[in-house]
């Protein structure tokens, strides 16, 4: 009975009330994953489970037995930042930095969804290949609130990081 968190096996909590978010923050001192609302309304607690983005505040840790969880602490390769982390710095995709880990994890999950062909609310054609236009990125990232108003920088950072994938898709479209 354990969860793999950034590659390390962690025992499930005894108390089933403990959310995945509180397990990370209280139990493991992995406080990079943030608590903004604790009700699934802000996205600050976004982590990746088997590569899919979820809000960890609404996830009871006991439900994730045997799953692989990646948090913001698991993205960088030692001293080398993940390209998206660097792009957030380059494009000033944050101010206070509190929503940032969630935005970054969410964007990584989003890229995988787009690659898989998952359409979005703003996709005109549900069956076409996904082209990550600015509007598509905005819709797909709308589950992550930012109150400092760094939205432009965040989208710019994601666009730059996914540039090769976007270009390929646009050429194919």
């Amino acid at each position: 009975m354990s969860i793999l968190i950034n590659g390390l096996a962690v025992a499930l909590p005894d108390d089933p009330r403990v959310s995945l978010l509180d397990l990370l923050r209280q139990g493991l001192h992995l406080s990079g994953t943030k608590k903004g609302c604790n009700q699934g309304a802000c996205g600050a607690c976004t982590v990746l489970v088997d590569g899919e983005r979820i809000v960890s505040c609404l996830a009871l840790a006991v439900q994730y037995d045997g799953r692989q969880v990646t948090t913001i602490e698991g993205l960088a390769d030692g001293d080398a930042l993940h390209p998206l982390q660097q792009a957030f710095i380059d494009h000033d995709g944050f101010q206070c930095g509190y929503c940032t880990p969630g935005q970054i994890c969410s964007a990584i999950g989003m890229a995988a969804e787009a690659k898989r062909g998952v359409p979005s609310h703003v996709s005109a054609d549900l069956t076409a290949d996904v082209t990550l236009t600015r509007e598509e990125l905005q819709e797909r990232m709308s589950g992550n609130l930012c109150r400092c108003g760094a939205h432009n920088g965040i989208i710019d950072a994601i666009r730059e990081t996914l540039k090769s994938e976007i270009d390929t898709a646009e050429m194919a479209a």
Partner: protein
């Protein structure tokens, strides 16, 4: 408000009154900023270059420690229970089940809370930071619906939260005022802001309005707002012997430490407040009940406490922006010149605080007019104390004023930009002071050209693409340049040529730590990597509030003062063997890692050399900034020209902002990268205010009914267009570095620009915020 407060405010008013008569008449050279800061002229420094946030790597790794992320040995977790009536007494509170619940350490109520003094309410002294003039959990009184009535401490947050839900309180309700209509019926009172009356009367505005050939006269309404920083308020608190440590998320470490010390009868130095990272503030991250309750509970338990407000708790404990009802009436002649400018109305506040939303501040210096009548009156409601929220006054005041100007432009059949420029004043129209720096017309011209304003049709409802009606609107934003007294800086220059600059300031995302390093590096003549910045800690000398967009100026002036002291100290150490020997501090400046004579740079010596020769490891200076007399000598403001394009759905009334441009006149921009983000951030919050934000206050019982990020809407990614930002970059000759703070100017005017664009798109004039689709459906 208590009699004591009234006396204090009167006293402050008297002193300020005397000063305000003398300072304007003094020669410029006696005034800080009277001699331009040499850094304004410097061409090849860091100032003006785009520097990425120095704390960026920490933040993108999730490694920046926020207030709720300091682990302490033996720490317990707190949960709060809240009152459910607006006014009355707690008749009984049953905590037995909570105390018996698993993991519970204790339950604190007014019955067992330590005795504490009432925190001094903000504004009653320079270091007072209390949210209201109310004791905290000292008696059975309930003053607002949502007031904390109990604190549970438990071994885990889950235990604390559960136990809190088991507390049962019964109340003896007393008559309360929770509707605006009832509050108005009790009679408005004159508004006082920072001890000064919110009232200006110049000429007979009523008569001139009546006589004017063209006029508009309407009432505009703005609702309550909440800051909604994504980081909920939190503090990790420990008593270490007689000392109290508060790891907090706060915008005022020093004032908070002093106020908490007074609450617990401690000396200021017995309380240390740290705040290294603040997850968004916007005026909301100040001292509220939770830090004091956390400290009291920690004292009672003898263990460290982590108190994190739930999102609901933030709405119950931390006040927001209050509602306003504003009348704006403008009378103009046929050329559009203002004969009368009337901006009056009411703001709701509580019997226990002193924050009347000062919505006329921006109107005081905005436009020339032959007569003025400006006033804010307050009505009292039984509710949580309202407070500052990003550009208090100007955010909502500019909505009314700049909407009214747009309405007048329609009435006059005149371009709204031309109308504004026609009424451009040559000196401050209400104070009579000269402007320190005002280039709003340039901002208008460059912004209009870049935005393509000339493509706008003045006729509403004439541009349509499918279901979407397209319109453009504009508005002026304005926010004062402030610099508050009490700032200080401490510089530690080491023999290895590295400088540590410490300021009791705050990093809430504005980029303060980065910009301070840049400014200090240029001031000291050091490269950026030789300067480190310490901040967010009350043990650092001085008092700097992260508010009023004044941090940059306060830090700038403090660093100037400390640098001056450093030069004097280094000259002493340099002694007679130096090429600097015999020079006075005023003859010497910093450059290239050392000191040099200003008019003869060959007479120089490096810091390293001075310290080595003096056999000193380091030299430390600490100095307080000059008094901000410049604020009484010049009229000092930032400005913006805002352009908005909206698409309004003709079927549903939904509004989408498709383009936005802000052209800013805010002195010299220190770090374009972070400044652009500040401007954009303000604009995004303004878009929220324009279209969706409202704190739902149930007038039947004073309860906030949407205390959540699901029900209180802030803009999401899809609501935010690409926001274009440009600036004049003209230095204000009378400020440190020629700069202005830029944290609040961004939000001002935005709601009006949106409303005016919606009018242009649809012909529908909405005077109530937020402009939700039901108000626009046509």
């Amino acid at each position: 408000m208590s009699i004591v407060d009234t006396l204090k405010e009167t006293a402050q008013g008297l002193v300020q009154g005397a000063m305000s008569k003398l300072v304007p008449l003094a020669p410029d050279s006696w005034i800080p900023g009277g001699v331009p800061d040499p850094l304004i002229r410097q061409q090849h420094g860091l100032i003006g270059t785009s520097v990425s946030r120095l704390d960026g790597p920490l933040k993108v790794r999730g490694a920046a420690p926020f207030a709720a992320e300091f682990p302490l040995e033996g720490m317990v977790y707190a949960a709060l229970a809240y009152a459910t009536i607006p006014r009355g007494r707690i008749a009984a509170i049953d905590t037995a089940a909570a105390e018996a619940a698993p993991g519970v350490v204790l339950v604190m109520t007014h019955l067992n809370a330590p005795r504490m003094n009432t925190p001094a309410v903000f504004g009653s002294s320079p270091t007072a930071a209390g949210p209201a003039d109310l004791p905290i959990m000292q008696d059975d009184r309930v003053h607002w619906n949502g007031q904390p009535i109990a604190v549970v401490l438990a071994e885990t947050q889950e235990h604390a939260d559960h136990a809190k839900s088991l507390i049962v309180a019964t109340y003896a309700a007393e008559p309360s005022t929770t509707s605006l209509a009832a509050a108005k019926a009790e009679g408005p009172q004159p508004g006082l802001f920072m001890g000064q009356p919110l009232l200006n009367e110049i000429g007979d505005a009523d008569a001139m309005l009546a006589a004017a050939p063209h006029k508009v006269d309407h009432v505009y309404r703005t609702p309550r707002h909440n800051h909604n920083a994504i980081e909920p308020h939190a503090a990790t608190i420990a008593w270490v012997g007689d000392e109290l440590i508060v790891h907090d998320a706060t915008q005022l470490v020093t004032a908070e430490a002093q106020t908490i010390a007074d609450v617990f009868d401690l000396k200021a130095e017995q309380v240390r407040v740290t705040s290294p990272f603040v997850g968004g503030g916007f005026g909301g991250k100040c001292l509220w009940d939770h830090q004091i309750l956390g400290a009291a509970a920690a004292k009672l338990a003898g263990r460290p406490v982590r108190i994190t407000l739930t999102r609901e708790g933030v709405y119950r404990v931390v006040g927001g922006r209050t509602l306003t009802e504003q009348r704006v009436a403008i009378g103009a002649d046929a050329d559009g010149r203002f004969k009368a400018l009337v901006h009056t109305g009411i703001a709701a506040m509580t019997p226990h605080n002193n924050m009347p939303e000062p919505f006329i501040l921006g109107t005081r210096g905005g436009y020339a007019a032959d007569s003025f009548k400006l006033s804010v009156e307050t009505v009292k409601m039984n509710m949580l104390a309202n407070t500052f929220m990003r550009a208090p006054g100007e955010s909502v005041g500019t909505f009314a004023l700049e909407s009214a100007i747009d309405e007048l432009a329609v009435e006059l059949d005149m371009d709204p930009i031309a109308l504004r420029i026609r009424n451009e004043p040559d000196k401050d129209p209400t104070s009579g002071l000269p402007f320190s720096s005002r280039h709003i017309v340039e901002a208008w011209r460059s912004g209009a050209a870049r935005f393509g304003w000339d493509e706008r049709s003045a006729e509403p409802g004439t541009r349509r693409e499918g279901e979407w009606l397209i319109g453009m609107g504009c508005a002026t934003g304005t926010y004062p340049y402030y610099r508050m007294p009490g700032a200080a800086a401490r510089i530690t220059l080491r023999r290895d040529g590295h400088a540590l600059v410490e300021i009791a300031a705050h990093e809430m995302g504005m980029g303060t730590s980065t910009t301070t390093a840049m400014v200090a590096a240029d001031r000291l003549g050091l490269p950026l990597d030789r300067v480190s910045v310490g901040y967010g800690d009350s043990i650092i000398p001085g008092t700097i509030l992260a508010g009023g967009s004044q941090q940059t100026a306060a830090i700038g002036a403090a660093v100037i003062a400390a640098h001056h002291a450093l030069v004097a100290e280094l000259l002493k150490l340099a002694g007679n063997d130096s090429r600097l020997a015999g020079l006075a501090p005023d003859e010497v400046g910093s450059e290239d890692g050392g000191l040099a004579k200003l008019d003869d740079p060959t007479r120089r010596e490096s810091y390293v050399s001075i310290l080595e020769r003096a056999q000193r490891e380091s030299v430390v200076v600490s100095e307080e900034a000059s008094q901000p007399l410049e604020l009484m000598h010049w009229s000092m403001h930032s400005h913006s020209a805002l352009f908005c394009e909206v698409r309004v759905n003709a079927v549903t009334g939904e509004t989408r902002v498709s383009r936005f441009l802000g052209a800013f006149d805010c002195g010299r921009i220190l770090n374009p990268k972070t400044a652009r983000s500040q401007f954009r951030g303000g604009i995004v919050m303004g878009l929220g205010m324009a279209l969706m934000e409202e704190t739902q206050f149930d007038e039947r019982n004073g309860r906030i009914m949407n205390p959540s990020l699901a029900e209180y809407h802030v803009p999401v990614h899809l609501d935010v267009p690409e926001i274009d930002v440009i600036w004049t970059d003209i230095a204000d000759p009378h400020t440190p570095m020629g700069a202005h703070g830029v944290g609040e100017i961004g939000i001002t005017g935005v709601a009006a620009a949106v409303a005016n664009a919606i009018y242009n798109a649809t012909g529908k004039r909405v005077r109530d915020l937020p402009i939700t689709l039901d108000k626009v459906m046509i």
